[in-house]
């Protein structure tokens, strides 16, 4: 172990005199975000590996995927909840990760604000859209004829 004392990176010490972006904040948001990255990561492994296994490895793999495949899966609340959890956790985890990266590389206040605004809007749109898609999904849409799941009434 070295005996050098390393100041915490953002302490405006002699070792890091340049960090003048923000005053220390007293909220615990960053701590919460740090913990969330780890907890969501553990859960996402199960959700995403399961998703990839079912969609790419089983049966015909990627060839099996079409409208009827999705309809079959989302007719079960199990896969609805699975996909919903995967959507929210992956989007929040990914958005928070990219937020960190923006904070690291974008040095000007204006650039950082702009990039993060775009990020949050994009993330919000995708989360709302993905959620609506799962909950408003109609496996047997009126007028459709091809690729329907087998349980739809024959037109």
């Amino acid at each position: 172990m070295s005996s050098n004392v390393i100041a915490s990176p953002r302490s405006n010490s002699a070792q890091s005199p340049w960090y003048k972006r923000n005053k220390a904040s007293h909220s615990s948001f960053e701590m919460f975000a740090w913990l969330f990255m780890r907890l969501s990561g553990v859960v996402l492994i199960v959700l995403i590996f399961g998703h990839l296994f079912v969609n790419l490895m089983l049966g015909q793999g990627i060839h099996a995927i079409d409208f009827g495949f999705v309809a079959g899966k989302w007719s079960s609340p199990f896969w609805q909840v699975w996909d919903l959890a995967m959507l929210w956790l992956a989007m929040l985890h990914g958005t928070n990760g990219v937020r960190t990266i923006i904070n690291d590389y974008a040095d000007r206040n204006g650039t950082r604000m702009t990039l993060k605004t775009i990020l949050y809007i994009a993330a919000g749109v995708i989360i709302v859209l993905g959620t609506l898609v799962i909950f408003t999904f109609d496996p047997c849409p009126a007028g459709a004829v091809t690729d329907l799941p087998s349980f739809c009434p024959v037109p």
């Binding site: 790419l56 409208f67 990914g94 990266i101 329907l148």
Partner: protein, 111 residues
Amino acid sequence: MWSWVGHRITGVVIFVFLLVHVLDTSLVRVSPEAYTAVIGAYKNPIMGLGEAALVAAIVFHAFNGLRIIAIDFWKKGPKYQRQMLWTVLIAWVVVMVPFLIRHLSIVFGGH
């Protein structure tokens, strides 16, 4: 150090994929034809290689993520971080080899 670069790059790649992926999945609300047409693009061999690369990125990010968690929470984590990096790489190979054999034979094998 490079494991951190790799973690960052794979994280961004997966995130960008996910944005597009939710958009393409949302086509199920447009019409079955629209969805099946766009998902059909995922089935050609070039996209098949892209999917393999995506899965490679996810498996690395996931296993290295577990390593980061172990370094942070496990008392001996920092001490064994190097051995754990090797474990990550070995586990990555162990998962990727069977995955690639199966996925690529589906992609290139036709029906």
